[in-house]
Amino acid sequence: MQALVLRLRQSGHLPVLAAAICTLALLLLGSLYSSNFLSAQYLLQQLQIASFLGIVATGAMLVILLGGIDLSVPWVVTVGGIMSAAAAGWWGSTGELLAIPFGIACGCLFGAVNGIGVAYLRVPSMIFALGINAVAQGLIVVQTGGFAPQDRATPAMHALATGRTLFGIPNALLVWLVVGACTVFLLHRTTLGRAIYAVGNRERAAYLSGVDTRRVTFLCFVLAGGCSAATGVLLTGYATKAYQAMGDAYLLPAIAAVVLGGTHILGGRGSYLGTVVGVLLITLLQSILSVMQIPEMGRQVIYGAVIIAMLLVYGRGQRLAQ
């Protein structure tokens, strides 16, 4: 048994397997509570909700693979949501067409500034993203005049977030699938993907091997900003309105999902499949806790405890004394 665990750990698949087992366990546990848990309707709904977290976790994963961390998620998500709704308000019918790209572009812009700070100014990502988060918040406060935004989501955004077209599969899930497929392709088949892993492992060696490591870092932050904003767009579509602090609830779960999926928090290692499983795990966990009507206190404690417990199984570092 020990040898099996060791081999699994070395192959890097242990986290994915462990997270998958845990997810199934949660489903079974939930089904004991209510048979609804295994119904197609419920599962599809969970996948729809998971898509939102999944897209933001994609961006978070890219930055974590680099060895950084994107703490600007909360307000860049909000930027995406509010700006896309605002575009519809500003520019009438062209605004409606441009709303989604515009919202995402705003997120990419913040990501770009983030990327410049981390890649070119060499400020640690944790602190620079904090600053970006504060600036984004400041801009939103100015933009909305401190009030709740009045702009509504465009029909397109609403359809994307809530609609189901293909065989009853939620559109949001399709969006996540597309984003996920692109990310897997990026990470495993492109030179940029190799460079991301290399920079996360050792930027010095990557630089001396002739890679423009600063540009790689910059691009990852742009993509992460875009992902955060895309989530904001979808959330606005879901709720038909944007609201302040809509992104706050996504930062911790996104990071937790990435780490539970086996991506090393210091960068350089991790697979997207793991992130997918991590997202599903977190979504199910949150869903079960709310359905069981456990009071908020219990939810918080269980949430944190589950993360620690899972990580103790497969996220442990090497002993210094061998």
Binding site: T190, A198, R202, L208, S209, G210, D212, A321
Partner: protein, 518 residues
């Protein structure tokens, strides 16, 4: 030399250690006696580092006994070994760069007053230790990170001495030292031997071992091969014991003298200057030749390579490649087809490889542009190129998808070199490529370099090993204080000439400012 008859102070009996599937040590025996210098010899992967790590308490053996002064001991933690009187100076220095010299020296068990660290007493201890090591010019409050590598090694030695050890272990302790410091350390070791300390010494420099050691132990493939009095075996016999086979000539034959007429030199450097580290370097490098860079450590050789590779800003001077003016502004540009320079860095673990990544990923990493189209990597072409390189360089790698950090030092270095060869570079810069590498792999690298030259590349090799410079290079430029002070070739290329030019002595060909050496 008398055969060692003194009772041993430290013995390792039947010690074994495995790392995953790799057998680092198997039934190894070792004993060292007080008042004697005992040299440990063997290729990389022979188990020497593991052996001393066990002695120093950094690693616990799977089987076997450690007997110290007749008593069996177990070291759970490096501190146990230190308390038992064993001090070890590792190849990777155990210094903390942000802390001061004094803090580093007294990092464990500092002198205390009212439970808190007594800074004044600590400083006195540090000064005494530095003086004992012969490095009294180092200021105890200086942050260690601000010192040169050679000075840091001296601090490391002082730190070991401050613990008043009975047994002192040195792992390649002189490989980073400037020549003057090497002399001082050797004198120090002789003095300590006289005082009754037992000294264990790992080095790949046969001359040093011949000068210092009383006893020699050879290890191969994790097993103890032989222990004999120093000087009782010839160099050739010793090397044979180390690699288990007879070595023919150490160096492949050199190239004929003149380059093809009419072709522009591969690299021409005129008046290259940078900051206060490089002062007007003039150099011509032709395709097909191996040129060596000599001189003491820290005279600008490293900076010269970085300058050629596009890492430095604010360069002055002229650079020409194949006749055209060209200057790389980044390593990315340097490796590109227009310029075609490759740099094999001095520290493969931090600068040459991404250790947790697979051997395959590391091998293809510098040549990804060639192996891909529109940013997408072609797996087929990658596998083919990687397989070719592994064969060409005989890289011993159990599985290409295993992390490259698990390979031996010599094979890791081969991966670094192979990585660059995939790019078909015109100019290959190698920064001390065989430092800390076993004899067998060294030879393979020499043959490879000569092959590269014959295939048309221009090779510039910096080495701290005189034998290597003399054996490998067609001509050697000796650097001192950021400029080339002497060119040596043919009959002039002797060790004596290398040493005296390195110290800028002799015929006063170039006047250098009267600055002290490192």
């Amino acid at each position: 030399m008398r055969v060692d008859t003194t009772a041993p102070i430290l013995q390792l009996v039947d010690v074994s250690k495995r790392y995953g599937g790799v057998r680092a040590l198997e039934g190894a025996h070792f004993a060292c006696a007080p008042g004697r210098i005992h040299a440990l010899l063997g290729e990389n992967g022979a188990g020497k580092s593991t052996l001393i790590k066990i002695m120093a308490g950094v690693v616990r053996p799977d089987a076997g006994r450690i007997v110290l002064q007749g008593q069996e001991r177990r070291f759970a933690h490096p501190q146990d070994a230190v308390s038992a009187g064993i001090a070890c100076i590792f190849q990777e220095l155990s210094l903390m760069p942000e802390l001061s010299v004094a803090d580093n020296i007294c990092i464990t068990n500092p002198p205390r007053r009212f439970g808190l660290i007594d800074r004044k007493a600590q400083r006195r201890i540090a000064e005494a230790a530095l003086a004992r090591a012969g490095a009294q010019d180092i200021h105890p409050l200086a942050p260690v990170g601000s010192l040169s590598l050679s000075r840091r090694q001296m601090v490391e030695i002082a730190k070991a001495l401050a613990r008043s050890p009975k047994i002192l272990i040195l792992d390649e302790a002189t490989s980073a030292l400037a020549a003057a410091d090497v002399e001082r350390v050797q004198a120090l070791l002789r003095k300590l031997r006289g005082e009754g300390m037992a000294i264990v010494y790992i080095s790949h420099r046969m001359k040093e071992i011949a000068a210092l050691a009383d006893d020699c132990s050879v290890f191969r493939n994790g097993r103890h091969v032989a222990t004999f009095a120093a000087g009782s075996q010839s160099d050739a016999q010793t090397v044979e014991m180390m690699i288990g086979r007879d070595i023919a000539h150490a160096f492949p034959p050199k190239a004929p003298a003149a380059p093809l007429a009419g072709t522009a030199p591969a690299l021409e450097v005129r008046g290259l200057s940078w900051n206060d580290r490089l002062h007007g370097i003039d150099l011509t490098l032709n395709a097909g030749e191996i040129v060596g860079l000599g001189g003491l450590d820290g005279q600008g050789q490293r900076e010269f390579f970085l300058a050629l590779f596009g890492v430095l800003r604010g360069l002055k001077g002229e650079l020409r490649l194949s006749g055209r003016p060209a200057q790389a502004r980044s390593p990315r540009q340097a490796k590109g087809p227009a310029i075609g320079i490759a740099l094999v860095p001095e520290d493969r673990k931090t600068d040459g490889l991404m250790l947790p990544m697979s051997a395959r990923d590391n091998l293809s990493f510098a040549a990804l542009e060639r192996l891909s189209r529109a940013g997408v990597v072609s797996r087929a072409r990658e596998s083919q190129a990687v397989g070719e390189m592994v064969r060409k360089l005989s890289i011993k790698v159990p599985a290409l998808d295993e992390p490259v950090g698990q390979l031996s030092g010599g094979n890791q270095q081969k991966v670094v070199i192979a990585k660059w060869l995939m790019n078909a570079p015109r100019i290959v810069l190698l920064n001390d490529p065989t430092r800390g590498i076993d004899v067998g792999t060294k030879q393979e690298i020499y043959v490879l370099l000569r092959q590269l030259a014959q295939e048309g590349a221009a090779v510039l090799l910096y080495s701290t090993d005189y034998a290597e410079l003399i054996g490998c290079c067609d001509r050697v430029a000796v650097m001192y204080d950021g400029r080339i002070v002497r060119w040596l070739a043919g009959a002039e290329l002797t060790e004596h000439a290398l040493v005296s030019s390195a110290l800028n002595l002799g015929d006063g060909r170039v006047q250098a400012p009267n600055r002290e050496l490192q």
